[in-house]
Amino acid sequence: MSVVIQPIPESAVAPKVSARTSTTLRVSRYVVVRLLTLFVTVVIGIYLTIMIANMGGFVDTIMKGEIRDRVTQMIINNPSYQSMEQEVRQKLIQDTIAAEEERRGLNVPIAVRNFRYLSNALTLNLGRAINMTSDSGSKQVSLILLERLPATLLLMGISQLFLFFSSILLALNLSRRYGNFWDKLVVTLSPTSAVPPWFYGIFLILIFAALLKVLPFGGMVDSPPPPTAFEYSMSLLKHLTLPTLSLVLSSFFLSIYNYRTFFLIYSSEDYVDMAKAKGLPMRDVERKYILRPTLPNIITNFALLIITLWTGATITETVFLWPGLGRTLFQAIGLYDIPIIVGSTIIYAYLLAMTVFLLDFIYSLVDPRVKVGS
């Protein structure tokens, strides 16, 4: 192919300033439109979650019944109220119930309350939990969530980051010599990822906790917690092993397989052959010709991974009794604790919207072919 070098025409240089303003205009218009649509998306998503969590008002009936029951029991069983007149006591019961319902905002119509939840949620004013408390005794949703966050970040962080980096490295290795024994092994084993992590968890508990008795069944640290920092972290490590292993096992082979196939598709491009023909070292070919164009996808995966760190693994955490966010969410649902359900959903939604928004810009940074808003 012959390359004709043409002299740059004057006209192409002249409107440089207007091109820059048009870029600014295009990008800013894109930013505004994109932010608006994402915001509307988040609002609708959260509103739907609130509606489902409220069960169209049925949860209110459950909570009202529960309050009635508890207050009546409390007043009837209280000896100091025993001598009261029947009517006075009935009045007291009704008043206490009304006060309790007002405290929880149950006297406000459901539609109004849904909007109140929505506006509070959108301003990240997560409010107070209904039934759950943090270990330090607080009912603040944000405190409850923050308290469980480290456990989830630890478990998910270690497993997901290990999974991400090890599968990229191994996939690169395999794509270099595809068709060999290890490559075939990974291809053969990739269907094992159809099995969810908690399932591997049960097998791992069976082998390492029940039969071999070398690792604990679940929990985060020994009870009582070891006094010294070193012993504490050793105990933590012991408890961390099985859940991490099950999370890694359940997506390890598929993840390698996907990246491998992906790298293979990119390494069969003409420009890669060209680079090899030029005699560039394999390291450079991989870094500059194969990895570079796959970067947008890798970054997307990484961004989505960061979001999953926040959501935690509900079922795996439940199986391993890991005190993380996923299990908290499950417990909250069981206790009809709507503020916590909404709280964790809104944070997830915001993180996701932010990531989607930022990714567009990151793409244009790493891939010169991509233009923001075009």
Binding site: T37, L38, V40, T41, V42, I44, G45, I46, L48, T49, I52, A53, M55, F58, V59, Y178, T188, S190, P191, T192, S193, A194, V195, P196, W198, F199, I202, F203, I205, L206, A209, A210, F217, R260, T261, L264, I265, S268, T311, T314, I315, T318, V319, L329, F330, I333, G334, Y336, I341, S344, T345, Y348, A349, L352, A353, V356
Partner: protein, 445 residues
Amino acid sequence: MSALKNSVQKLFYYPSAVFGLFVVFLLVLLAIYAMLKIPYSEAIRLWRGGEDVWYQNPKFAAPAWINYFSSEKYAESFAVKTDDGSLSSEFTPGAEGTGTLVANHIFDFNYDTYPQDMILYFTSEFAEKQPFVSLEWLTPDGRIVRIANMAISRQFTYRFAQDEKLKARLKTDDIIASLFSDPETGSPIKGQYQLLLTGTTFEPGSLINAEFVFHGQVYGLAGTDHARRDLIVPLLWGAPIALAFGLIASLGSSVLTMIIAAVGTWYSGWVDELIQRITEINLVLPFLSILIMIGTFYSRSLWVILGATIALSIFTGAIKGFRSIFLQVKESMYIEAARAYGASGPRIVFLYLIPRMIPLLIPGLVSSVPAFVFLEASLALLGLGDPVLPTWGKIIQDANSNGALYRGYYYWILEPTVLLMFTGLGFAMLGFALDRIFNPKLRDA
């Protein structure tokens, strides 16, 4: 059509596809067998049945076949009764309306563990005078142990292990162990045991029926759970339910996804825009949390969960994949030809666009079956399984909440998990191979 045949032939080049097909075929057979062997209503009755249905079974009994692999032999369970002659009995009328019933049961006991319990259930008919029963126990070494003498009411249950008088007489706390062991050494004696039951009735027409239930340590093909239920029922019935749930969910969600993507790309404009917005909203919704909420708040019925699963799985990333391919197909010549002869929009969508995509649909459809099968099991594990249907996930949940792993009832958790694992792997392997056949781009890679 020949292309499809060709594809099916190619399937046999892949060992994993052959394995996958084999597993799926076995599962279908298992499902058909389950439905023929135990009708639906009977399965529900058995699964929901309490002590009155399952009193003959021991609790937490491992399957009987573990005796082949274990050096220590576990006692097998059995139950015999006079009604159907399995407990041999003879009734001889005596003078003045009295009668004597002699029933004896001789059985081999060649095990190293004692049974969990032995129980006699009596039913009798009489007007005023209660019949009288005495029991004797004959051991292989020739001892005769007097067990009990008692008058029996119309419904009477005699539990060997709880007879305080017998405990005092045998000077032991564990009657069952004492009955089966050598009084000198305390180790079990193997051989033929005999239970001799002599009953006397004191009225004409008075009757005694007896049932001897022997709760061993192992039971049947699959063992039993905490409620004495035979695990074979949920293991068999788990197959059709898992298949139905997995296939309907994956078929429903992928076909609907494809139709919506086709409609969106064809009509473009606001329809397409709306579909894309809904997809983004759906991305924000927490899938598992919503299913948990539906399970907790609304209904735990499998079919409600199935509907919600399909609804939430329509507007996912897959819609974008279909959309990009439809956008290419939309520009093809044959579509233009159809448009030229005046085909209507729906006609083009359903007769031109969608048929073109079916080969691409199949691998994804098969590959997504395991996810749905495991979703059912996951929800069951969280205690949100269908309250009526016997499923594999329910067994795992029962086992997990009864501490099967802590207490060593490994069979209980292994049986459903192995079945689920095979189901998942079978569909996944088949899906992988199909993907490589229908997407030739992947084949060399």
